[in-house]
């Protein structure tokens, strides 16, 4: 990678989050500047996502005699400072330095700057899957090769398929998409299944709200996924594979398409891979947006051009999957672990993580946390270490309340459980689950009833409607939650009775859905309610018995009034009120009729003077 080090190189992180934060403006600025210089004196490159989202846009600089240095967040002003430094020898803009990349050797002038890997966000991480993301140019096969790429595949084709399956079994790798099923075992089922045509599918339909690690891997290191899939295909005997990727990830799709082309040209995909008689064709299928397609059989139905509805198992996809043929489905992160296992061996992989959950897990750490981003932690790390050591704790020094793990299938864990170790089994014991790896931090201003309601609304709208427990049961749970965060001014006696019934039977209904829904989506849908009921029952009680929301989130339980001192009588709120509940004369203080007010809170958002208050 350092062969052209003498040419000053500027590397801009252009993952989706970098672009969202303004990386394109910064990239274009450098492109314009470099265009004015003699040809060949500077290089401008792109890289994927380093995972330190809070610091985006991130820019790296490689100067002769210097280690690679990362800067962030780089605004246009920051870019100017960096340009002045590389072109005119101006001083290093220390305020925006994140850290250096190199090890101790060859550093001068920068000796007092810590390497990136010593800074708090990275220090506790172990990067196996994300090792290339944000470092190499994802559009360059050469850079992937220089970082050790396709070593795993080269070793694979010298082994028998059975040996490859055994290697993965030995590594103890478990599915990173949610349930944690042993990957090697899954491969073995597909390997053992009779059939002349077999398929491999990579599930990149990351629909979990608050999770984006698969996207970052696809954008930042597409070849790792391709290599992993080729290895899996060899192991189970598949000649055709699909990457089922969310259509909402256009950049990931583009990078994958290009990478597949490069791999075909270089002989890592296509016919007679690496000169052997192993052939493997890889295609991209764009998902059309349905959360339930994370379920294997639903995903298969979707590729077959049908509504993405799950079907009962068995038969499992390993016996009868896509077009009725033996099919193996793995999630992106699982597949991205495979090249390392085959290149360095199961032993090396087992050095990380715990006995029962070896390796690492990537989390999308977000919400009310100081340093948000992609975190790759060895399995077995505690929640506290991830949230406080890596994430820096809660924003604005508020009180930590809960962390939501596993998205709509997972649960909310309270402060008392911060010492829980993050591995498949410990999380399930605590009432959450690994899920795909979303980790959203919540503080005292978050209402747990509202959070449960949020997830139930999501699963209710994503339920495919095939089985009754999920279609009707989740809808009833959602209604019940909606009824406890609503004001009951115009409620009929019958509605009160139904509400009462709903609340008292909520836990029982949740249990029934868990036991009887047809697929993983339905079976796990009640988890957000059950975990919040378990750990935050007092908040439910406050809503149900005292008709108040302790965190002040559920607007319908608040009473709105206008502060006559602040109101100028502009009339904006009158026009925006959906129920004509605000009265008053122009240029005189207005007031809200509590009879008519439906507590939607709209007026409060619109008032330019902050005159609308709540109690």
């Amino acid at each position: 990678m350092n062969s052209n080090k003498r040419i000053t190189t500027i590397i801009v992180g252009t993952g989706t989050c970098g672009l969202a934060a303004g990386a394109r403006i910064v990239h274009d600025y450098f492109a314009d500047k470099i265009a004015e210089e003699p040809e060949g004196s500077y290089r401008l490159k792109k890289t994927g996502c380093l995972g330190y989202c809070t610091m985006e846009p991130i820019v790296d600089v490689e100067l002769s005699g210097w280690p690679r240095v990362s800067f962030g967040p780089v605004t246009l002003e920051g870019a100017e400072l960096i340009w002045d430094m590389v072109s005119g020898g101006a001083e290093l803009p220390r305020d925006i330095v994140l850290g250096t990349h190199a090890d101790a050797e060859g550093i001068h002038e920068l000796h007092d700057i810590p390497t990136l890997w010593e800074t708090p966000f990275f220090r506790h991480q172990k990067r196996l899957v994300l090792k290339n993301s944000g470092i190499i140019d994802p559009e360059s096969l050469d850079e992937y090769l220089e970082s050790g790429g396709y070593r795993g595949l080269k070793r694979t084709v010298e082994m028998t398929p059975r040996e490859v399956v055994d290697e993965v079994k030995e590594s103890g790798l478990r599915g990173r998409g949610g349930a944690g099923f042993p990957t090697g075992l899954k491969w073995q089922f597909a390997h053992d299944a009779p059939g002349d045509q077999k398929y491999i599918i990579c599930n990149a339909d990351e629909g979990d709200p608050g999770a984006f690690m698969d996207r970052s891997i696809l954008e930042g290191d597409p070849h790792a996924v391709i290599e992993g899939l080729a290895i899996a295909a060899y192991a189970i005997g598949a000649s055709k594979g699909y990457i089922y990727c969310r259509a909402e990830y256009p950049l990931a799709i583009r990078r994958l398409t290009d990478a597949i082309e490069q791999a075909e040209e270089a002989g890592y995909l296509g016919d007679n891979i690496l000169g052997t008689d192993f052939s493997f064709e890889l295609l991209i299928k764009k998902g059309a947006g349905a959360f339930v397609c994370g379920e294997e059989t639903a995903l298969i139905a979707s590729i077959e051009g049908k509504r993405g509805m799950p079907r009962p198992r068995p038969p499992y996809p390993a016996q009868s999957g896509l077009w009725g043929k033996p099919t193996n489905i793995n999630n992106v992160e699982t597949i991205a672990n495979v090249p390392f296992i085959l290149a360095d061996g199961a032993e090396a992989f087992r050095k990380h993580g715990t006995e029962k959950s070896p390796g690492t897990k990537v989390f999308a750490l977000a919400g009310k946390v100081k340093r948000s981003g992609l975190v790759e932690a060895p399995m077995g790390m505690t929640l506290k270490e991830i949230i406080f050591d890596i994430g820096g704790g809660v924003q604005g020094d508020k009180e930590f309340k809960a962390v939501q793990i596993g998205g709509p299938s997972g649960g909310c864990l309270p402060r008392e459980l911060l010492d829980t170790r993050v591995d498949y089994d410990s999380l399930i014991e605590a009432g959450a689950m690994m899920g795909s790896g979303g980790m959203v931090v919540m503080d005292e201003d978050t209402c747990m009833v509202d959070v449960a309601k949020f997830f139930l609304e999501f699963t209710a709208s994503e339920s495919c409607g095939k089985c009754l427990p999920c279609r009707e049961g989740v809808a009833r749970l959602k209604e019940t939650l909606n009824s406890i965060v609503k004001a009951h001014r115009d409620e009929s006696p019958e509605e009160s009775l139904l509400r009462f019934q709903g609340v008292t039977m909520m836990e029982e209904l949740a249990g029934v859905i868990q036991d009887s829904a047809a697929c993983g989506l339905g079976q796990t849908a009640p988890n957000p309610i059950l975990s919040t009921l378990k750990y935050f029952r007092d908040e439910y009680d406050a809503h149900v018995f005292e008709r108040r929301c302790p965190s002040g989130v559920c607007t319908a339980l608040l009473e709105y009034y206008i502060d006559p001192e602040l109101c100028t009588g502009c009339g904006l709120c009158v026009r925006k009120c959906p129920d004509d509940a605000i009265l008053g004369e122009k240029r005189h203080p207005h007031y809200i009729s509590t009879e008519k007010c439906i507590s939607c809170g709209t007026c409060r958002q619109f008032c330019p003077f902050g005159a609308i208050k709540v109690r």
């Binding site: 672009l19 969202a20 709200p209």
Partner: protein
């Protein structure tokens, strides 16, 4: 019946009419071409693949990606992923809805705005997030969201 436009234009690759798996890619191409799935195109797709129109509609309405009505001139997605939600996305959505006089995810009568609440745009560190015509606006507040809408309106009035 004429073949679907996405097939006859030749710009979206080839679609093997005997492979049922091409239904979704074909609808995706059609939507890319028109911005939505026009009725006549749905009929053509059904005819081309030898499926009933009901079957095609069944698939089209199952997935979030497909829309059966044209998009407004300005497409506003309000992210309602978990991180955005705990940081107040529902207030942002409510205020934008109220400003545009819309009940839910839909298009304004003048065809200027379509608003949509979407599951996760994947830039959680910038929560709450609004995507206006493929441009991300992070760290939203109600007032900032209103300004976004009013700025677009002002530009429209000036005829830009």
């Amino acid at each position: 019946m004429a073949p679907p436009t996405a097939v006859s234009s030749g710009e979206y690759g080839t679609f093997d009419s005997t492979d049922p798996g091409v239904l979704i890619p074909l609808m995706q191409a059609t939507q890319e071409e028109f911005g939505y799935l026009p009725r006549v195109e749905v009929a053509r797709i059904a005819d081309y693949l030898g499926l009933s129109e009901a079957r095609v509609y069944g698939v089209a309405t199952f997935y979030n990606q497909f829309r059966l009505e044209p998009l407004g001139k300005h497409y506003i997605q309000i992210c309602s992923g978990t991180a955005c939600h705990v940081k107040g996305a529902s207030e942002i959505f409510a205020v934008i809805r109220a400003e545009l006089g819309l009940e839910d995810s839909s298009t304004t009568k003048d065809g200027l705005f379509t608003i949509d609440s979407v599951a996760c745009l994947g830039a959680c560190s910038m929560a709450p997030l609004v995507n206006v015509n493929d441009e991300f606006h992070g760290h939203m507040t109600a007032q900032k969201a209103l300004k976004l809408i009013r700025d677009i309106r002002a530009k429209e009035r000036k005829g830009e």
